[in-house]
């Protein structure tokens, strides 16, 4: 499969995530959008790394594996981030009975 397909899919996912972060007010949705952006990047990394691996297979068997390794790291970090982020959102809900981030601008005053 040509790399272009992966690229466009990844770009579409990233844009959806970005627009979601910028426009939505619900903290959980924003959170999901961030995950979406992370996954778009993951997809891209895996796609490129696979492409390189196939191209240089004859040369060296380990070429193009580091991109896939990155993905594991990103997934681990994302998982950790999810646990912290969800905890924050829970605390936020307990305090203000809402998950709308527009209510969180009180420091300004």
């Amino acid at each position: 499969m040509p790399i272009n397909y992966y690229l466009f899919l990844s770009l579409a996912l990233f844009t959806i995530g970005m627009v979601g972060v910028l426009t939505r007010r619900n903290a959980i949705i924003i959170f999901m959008c961030i995950e979406l952006m992370l996954n778009a990047v993951n997809l891209l990394l895996v796609a490129f790394s696979k492409m390189h691996h196939l191209k240089n297979l004859a040369l060296n068997a380990s070429v193009g594996t580091d991109g896939q390794l990155f993905v594991f790291f990103i997934m681990v970090v994302a998982a950790a981030e999810v646990s912290v982020g969800l905890a924050i959102i829970v605390m936020m809900y307990r305090n203000i009975h809402s998950v709308d981030i527009q209510f969180l601008n009180r420091l300004k005053h």
């Binding site: 972060v21 910028l22 426009t23 007010r25 981030i101 527009q102 969180l104 601008n105 420091l107 300004k108």
Partner: protein
Amino acid sequence: MFSFPNIAYFIPLLPLLGFLVNGLGRKHLSKGAIAWIGSGVLALAFAASLVVFLNLPSGGPTLLNAFDFIRIGELRIPFAFQLDALSSLFLLIITGIGFLIHVYSSAYMHEESAEHYGRYFAYLNLFIFSMLLLVMGANYVIMFIGWEGVGLCSYLLIGYWFRKPAYTQAANKAFVMNRVGDLAFLIAIFWLIARTGSVNFVDLPAALSSLSSSDITWITMLLFVGATGKSAQIPLYTWLPDAMAGPTPVSALIHAATMVTAGIYMIARSNLLYTAAPLTLNVIAVIGIATALLAASIAIRQNDIKKVLAYSTVSQLGFMFLAIGAGAYGAAVFHVMTHAFFKALLFLGSGSVIHAMSGEQDIRRMGGLKKVLPITYFTFLIGCIAIAGIPPFSGFFSKDAILLSAFLKSPILYGVALFTALLTAFYMFRMFFLTFGGTFRGTDEQKHHLHESPLAMTLPLMVLAVLSVIGGWVGIPELFLHGGERLIEFLSPVIPVVEGHAISHSTEYLLMGLSTGLVLSVIFFAWTRYRQYRSEESSAPFARLLENKWYVDELYQTAIVQPLHRFGGWLRSFFEPKIVDGLIQGVGRSIRYISQQIRLLQSGQTGNYALWMVISIVVILSIQFFVRK
């Protein structure tokens, strides 16, 4: 340490020590202690000066290098003292007469409170210190330090009674006028450094060859402008009569031993440069004789005893500059010396009179003081005869030397100078007869208080009177005494003697006889006119012109001071609030406006920040991608 030449370090250090002790301890020391310290350091400095004078090697100067004052690249200005005939002579005059004036002051200022008494003596000591620095410095920069110090001390002492606004104004006037001259002096120093890279006096002969003649003319002119400020010549002379606001001994100090002689000293010190600048010499001669004549004419109609003496000082300084202009530096220095004797005597004498008259200074309200103030009367008479120039008193010899040099330069100069000398004799004896002759014209209360001054005041008068008589004998012309003109010969290592008086003995006798005869007849005329007091109120325009000092002060007031005041007022009322403040407040206001606009970016909405972040990233990436290929 106590031998030549190192003892010379003590000469300026002792007055500095006196200044520090009296200045810092003025609240703790008694008046007696202050007077003893103030005068004592001067006595020791005089002794040290005597040692220097007596041990002075003939020939070249002795240099004392203390340390490098300034060292920038090639330029090296040492903090050095130069001991030679000229500086040692001035050291003797300054410390000797300074000492007498200190002793006199201890009695004259006795009514001051101890604190102010200490302040007074501290200033006096600092004054002497600055003057010593001025004459001992081995280069123009050290001289300039003393020069500025003298200006500062004159300001402090003229404004000593600072509670009277008129006195502080006089002090300001003296300081500001001196600054005008100082600026020229400073430019001359810079010019010299730029052209020759050295300001040492010993390097002057070598520097002379590397300077172009226009350089020399400019430098000498600028130095001369500096001298007109300090030595009160046209156009910067008006501060000196106003300087009478200070205590009388201070006037004596300024007029006789220190300050006003600085200009003469500086030019005599740079005589090599001046000899190479004939144009400057001509200017100096003209300015000198014009100042002498102008001041003498003003003095005729003054009624304040100190004002008469002040104008006579300006006039005598004019004579000295005339001598310099005629190339007779030695005669000028000679006149500085004799003038120091008799002018100190006259000022201290007038102080004694003012003391007796309980502060009265108007000679129209004096008279008949001969009987009550015998010592003052007698010494004052000697001073008047000396300044009038009657042989064998000191003034005759120095004035005769100046007249002779003027005659050799040009007969016109001689004529004007002789006329001025006659005016001098006239106004001095007018003052003398009005003060001491006739009958007492003051109030009964003043008459009741009349008394001769204490010994601390009369003793300096007597010493100075003796000096005024014999002081001129060091310069008796060759004509009378073989091997005469000792002073000129003594000064010859510094001031080369110009050979060949192109004048016959008979002419010289004639000139002397002429001046002496005329002076005597003028004194007789003054005697007939002022033996008995009569009112001098006159509405003749010329008399009024003289009474108002040729309206020079008014001229300066309208031509310089008032425009400056108006300019200052304009700056204050328009430039400062509108332009300066407007500029500064405009900067402040625009920054506040911009901040107010930028503040809105910080909305507190996370989404906003994220949006800005995205926009910025897109912008940066597109720049990266499209622009910076």
